[in-house]
């Protein structure tokens, strides 16, 4: 097994019109780890994720997944890369015109040659994994927000991807469901070796899940801290990072920047 870095982000800059959202972000994701991307609202977490999976092209910089530069890849190459990843969107991204079961079986019946009955069983198994057994025939708009999130996770895992991207999987869940989901994520990671990139700002989830954390900041438009959250919590040289982990508010400084 060659390079242990499955994703390499190099000098990624993202601009929307005149507004710079990310500036020169460089980071790696190591095979088999659980990486959490944290940061305040609007700091560019979803944006970073979208660029990591090649949904948008950056203004400059490159993103490599398994050695393929997805910023310059052809649509055909991109499709191959895409089949190796699963993604949960912040608003779940379930197809509204299909039931839960159809949403999950969609990639299965498209990209595999398994018989329908077996696909049906896989679907039921995946739904049970996220605690949604019995909701096969419900449409997404008949589910609660948290259930939609879970169905989205089930769909993201349909093809057993190597890399799983989860945009705020724990937001809006009650503590029990949330803890159950954390356990599930951990298990999938340990037993199947799935690399996880999770956007979250639920402190407890971060502390219990993350092997490594990358913190983005709106002022710096990039990464202000990187490392083990349990260490950063007390030992980060950056007061903003310590405030984040210890849930402290901070005085607004006039420049709007938090020192790096």
């Amino acid at each position: 097994m060659g390079d242990s870095r499955v994703i390499r982000v190099e000098n990624l800059s993202v601009r929307y019109g005149d507004e710079v959202v990310l500036q020169d972000v460089t980071m790696d994701v190591v095979r088999g780890e659980i990486l959490v991307v944290a940061g305040g609202s609007g700091s560019g977490k979803s944006t970073l994720l979208r660029h990591m999976v090649g949904l948008s092209r950056p203004s400059s910089g490159r993103v490599e997944i398994n050695g393929v530069d997805i910023t310059t890849a052809s649509p055909a190459e991109l499709q191959v890369v895409m089949r190796g990843i699963g993604m949960l969107f912040q608003s779940s991204g379930l197809l509204g015109s299909m039931t839960c079961a159809e949403n999950i079986s969609l990639p299965l019946s498209e990209f595999t040659d398994m018989p329908e009955s077996f696909i049906g069983e896989i679907v039921r198994m995946k739904l049970a994994m996220v605690g949604l057994e019995g909701y096969e025939d419900h449409f997404p708009n008949e589910l609660s927000g948290g259930m939609r999130k879970r169905a989205g996770i089930a769909r993201a895992m349909a093809l057993d991807p190597d890399i799983l991207f989860l945009d705020e999987p724990f937001a809006g869940l009650d503590p029990i469901t949330s803890a159950g989901l954390e356990l599930l994520v951990k298990r999938i990671n340990q037993r199947m070796g799935t690399t996880m990139v999770i956007v979250s700002h639920e402190l407890e989830s971060i502390l219990s899940l993350a092997q490594r954390i990358v913190m983005l900041d709106k002022g710096k438009k990039g990464i202000i801290a990187e490392g083990d959250p349990r260490v950063l919590k007390d030992e980060s040289p950056n007061p903003h990072v310590r405030h984040f982990f210890n849930r402290e508010i901070e005085e607004k400084d006039e420049t709007g920047e938090h020192g790096a």
Partner: protein, 384 residues
Amino acid sequence: MKSSARKGGEDRGVSIVIGEEREARLSLSGRLSLDNLEYVMERVDPLLGRPQLVSLAVDLEGLVRIDSAAALFLLRMQEEARRRSLPFEFVNISPRVMGIIDLLDKSAIRLGPPSPREKSGGFFEDVGRTSVMFLDDFNQCMTFGGILLSEALYCALHPASIRWNDVVLSVKKIGVDGLSILALISFLMGLIMAFMSSLQLKQFGANMYVASLVAIAMVRELGPIITAILVAGRSGSAIAAEIGTMKVNEEVDALVTMGFNPVRFLAVPKLLAAIVVVPLLTFFSDLFAIGGGMAVGILGLGLTFHTYADLTSWALTVHDIVTGVLKSMVFAVLITGIGCQRGFSVQGGAEAVGNATTSAVVAGLFLIIVTDSVFALVLNYVRW
């Protein structure tokens, strides 16, 4: 010179006392809130503009209650005084009032409003900007058209990759569901056309030409146009809204990350359905219009069913029918193409979906009329 003015305002729950001319002392008492703030501002604002003023103290002792707007007013007064470098102070400020003033973010007041995002740069810049936007839009439409046609071609060569369920569903939505209203409109069109023309033709005893008039006008021009307009209004808008909403809900992104090609997945089935169904609708439209004309012919002009049918078939040529079908196929491609393009170009929220829907219909109608004119010109010269 000393001047002490007491200004009425108790009925508004506030009283204002303005003290000396040069070293002014402003006393506010009572209740200061959004209801009476304008009244207070009117009287206090001129104070700061006085040229003789050397210092200002604001006495808040009697102030019982303020709200955040009133606190903002007080802060603004302080800021204004600082700007004019006047000595300024609040006196007898109670902890309650202080607490509310503290709630406000002082740096945000000093910052002022952000510069407007899109400022108009005068006539020429606006014209330039609009032209660039128009060209950009044209460019995007052409690009999308290319993608759509190449995907359609791919699907034609790989029929297994077509989602037939979706095609059938779209056939129902575009065709079957629209048939009744199309039939009604066409029937009435034929009826009106026959009725109006018969009034004129009667004068020359040329009644029997009503049949050929209705047949030729409908089959060559009006049938395809009415159908296209109806489909653009019913289905072009629906397609744009559906895809646009999917875009907003990240459903399109989800398709991409699952390895699907969103154009092939969403647009091609609709395109195929429209290509099949719009010519059929056009055919029905022609038929019902002729039926409308026939109703007038039989009931009003004393023609028999047979005569009317004979006259109609005598007036029509194969060329008319084939070009009508051809035309409606082109319309079908234009309507679905522009509907999908507008849907996929949605960015943002609900409002963007609304704009895309409107734009899909307007642009669709525009394309239909322009294409129809081109057809009219070309077909006039090219006859086989």
